[in-house]
């Protein structure tokens, strides 16, 4: 079984979000980059399948050399090898085009991606990859089992769960629940050492046209300072919510 895990390098959750003075780009100065949280669940699940069913796990990331530290971390967690597509990661269609090419050329059985990245919140790449390759697609996956060349997956739906099955090849967009939080793998010393020598191949990007332009970024308006209410005067909160905030 060959598994391709798609990893995004994203600003750490606690990072202050600022934009360049012309408002055109995210300001990376002083920002720590990490594996996209949704991707972490996918990576751990893949490594579990490697251990229990002998799958090989390849991680792929689209980006410039600055994303390689995050890829080495994925190797340290247990992936067998990594592929960096040297291209621009901003446009979802572009990213999906690169991943689809890697997936098809490598004949991967399962393409696992996080359901969205916490920076641009597009949630588009998994569906685009599936559509471009005409592979089965399960979005919002919170449970994944594999037997032979069939997957059984549970996905989150409004107010419940849907269980589906499909034959390889499949694209699975995973999220929290794919493995319990407590089971998320972190790199150990041996992992970190071996990651240094595991293959990390760089391949050029395909050109992909896009008709979507980013005009710019702003930060949302800040909330005003909090109005504190005394715990013995709870009625005041109800009055304020009704008269001032007008939410009840």
């Amino acid at each position: 079984m060959k598994i391709l895990v798609c990893i995004s390098s994203v600003p750490d959750t606690t990072a202050r979000i600022n934009f360049t003075s012309d408002g055109k780009e995210f300001d990376k100065n002083g920002v720590q980059f990490v594996i996209n949280p949704h991707d972490e669940f996918c990576l751990t699940r893949a490594v579990q399948l490697q251990e229990t069913q002998g799958a090989t796990v390849t991680v792929v990331t689209v980006g410039d050399a600055s994303v390689e530290p995050v890829m080495r971390k994925a190797l340290a967690i247990g992936a067998n090898d990594a592929i960096r597509v040297d291209g621009d990661a901003r446009d979802a269609v572009g990213v999906a085009t690169q991943i689809a090419k890697v997936a098809k050329e490598g004949a991967y059985d399962i393409i696992l991606t996080g359901r969205e990245s916490i920076d641009y919140n597009g949630g588009e790449v998994p569906g685009f990859v599936a559509g471009m390759l005409d592979y089965a697609f399960v979005n919002g996956c919170i449970n994944l089992e594999v037997e032979g060349n069939t997957v059984t997956a549970v996905r989150d739906i409004d107010g419940g769960h849907q269980t589906v099955s499909a034959n390889f090849p499949v694209v699975i967009a995973g999220q929290n629940g794919l493995v319990p939080e407590a089971d998320l793998r972190i790199p150990n010393m041996r992992g970190i050492m071996s990651a240094r020598t595991k293959p990390l191949n760089v391949v050029p990007a395909e050109t992909a046209g896009s008709k979507l332009n980013v005009v710019g970024y702003v930060k949302p308006e800040e909330r005003g300072s909090v109005t504190m209410i005394d715990k013995d005067n709870v009625g005041e909160l109800v009055r304020l919510l009704h008269e001032e905030a007008k939410v009840i």
Binding site: T13, T14, I17, F19, F26, P37, H38, A96, I118, D119, N121, G123, E124, P126, G127, F128, A130, A136, F137, N139, G140, I142, I157, D158, G159, G160, H161, Q162, T163, V164, S165, A166, V170, G177, E181, K211, L212, N213, V214, V215, G216, Y217, V218, K219, P220, R223, V226, T227, M228, I229, K231, V234, G235, L237, V238, L241, H242, A245, V247, I248
Partner: protein, 319 residues
């Protein structure tokens, strides 16, 4: 030309998300001069409610093919019914799933999670959610067709009554168009308010000390007509169902009112609720970081404050 809107249903009834999508399509139509056509798949509700929000036409597609959701079948249906160059979907779980497939099928540009009316329709320019609510990204579709998803509880619903008409229509889609085999569907008990759509949400965390103490949370939620939510730690240990978990790796919601009880306000939690219009924080720790992100706050023991709040809300409603 008309803007096609996916009027999503749950058990045959239109979701609030459907009204939001139609309202958004109307905001485009007002600038572009298009009409609005809603697609209703296996809907049992009357179309009158869709006319109220501005749907000039309702296309009713009734077929067993669509009893189970699969991304390929729904994408194919909408692709077939498309008339103009714009399709509007609510950013629900299902619609967000088939949106990319639909965009590929119709050679359209996909724009997701829009939060406000477009500032321009030629070229189409609009704001979308980014950086988990810490940023607003303005994007522009330079030319050609587009598929748009509209974030829930952001643009909102706007009544715009028209004299609409409905017609039944067929699409050439079958279950075999999907590579998925739907094994089963489990639906939680109906009657609970959808957390993604709720205008008021009452949420609680570790400060409640144990699952047996959630009665007052549910009572307050019932009184306010609210949905219930929870922080990640209590969902991880199973005190509350994982569907209630709001936060970075859970749901992102934007209700009018978010009441957080016994939740400290870690950044990962804020990422899921920072778009709420009004935030109330009740916590016994005056240093809880959540107070910095709140509109109103009460420092106190949840087990004293929440029962008092319940009494005050009852008084308010009775008055």
């Amino acid at each position: 030309m008309s803007i096609l809107v996916y009027a999503e249903t749950q058990d045959g009834k239109y979701k609030k998300a459907a009204f939001e999508a139609i309202s958004y399509a109307k905001s485009i139509a007002e600038q572009s001069g298009d009409t609005v056509t809603a697609v209703a798949i296996n809907a049992t509700d009357s179309s009158d409610v869709l006319y109220k929000y501005g749907a000039n036409k309702v296309l009713k597609v009734n077929s067993d093919t669509f009893n189970n959701f699969t991304p390929e079948t729904y994408a194919k249906a909408l692709a077939e019914l498309k008339d103009g160059d714009t399709i509007v979907l609510p950013a629900t779980l299902d619609a967000s799933t088939f949106a990319p497939l639909l965009a590929l099928k119709t050679d359209a540009t996909l724009v997701t999670n829009l939060i406000a009316a477009p500032t321009n329709v030629a070229p189409f320019t609009a704001e979308r959610r980014a950086f988990s609510g810490k940023g607003i990204e303005t994007v522009e579709v330079t030319e050609g067709a587009k598929v748009i998803t509209v974030l829930q509880n952001a643009f909102g619903v706007k009544e715009n009554p028209v004299d609409g008409t409905e017609e039944e229509t067929n699409v050439s889609v079958s279950e075999s168009d999907s590579k998925l085999n739907v094994v089963k569907v489990e639906q939680a008990s109906t009657g609970k308010i959808d957390l993604n759509e709720a205008e008021v949400v009452v949420s609680a965390g570790r400060g409640l000390k144990g699952p047996e103490n959630w009665g007052m949370v549910e009572e307050l939620a019932d009184l306010l007509g609210a949905a219930t939510a929870c922080s990640k730690p209590v969902s991880d240990v199973g005190w509350r169902p994982h569907e209630e978990h709001v936060g970075q790796t859970g749901k992102a919601i934007a209700p009018n009112l978010y009441i957080a009880i016994g939740i400290s306000g870690a950044i990962q939690h804020l990422a899921g609720v920072n778009s709420s219009k009004t935030i109330v924080v009740i916590n016994s720790d005056a240093e809880a970081p959540f107070f910095k992100a709140a509109d109103y706050g009460i420092v106190g023991d949840a087990f004293e404050v929440v029962p008092k709040l319940i009494e005050e809300v009852k008084k308010f409603k009775g008055a």
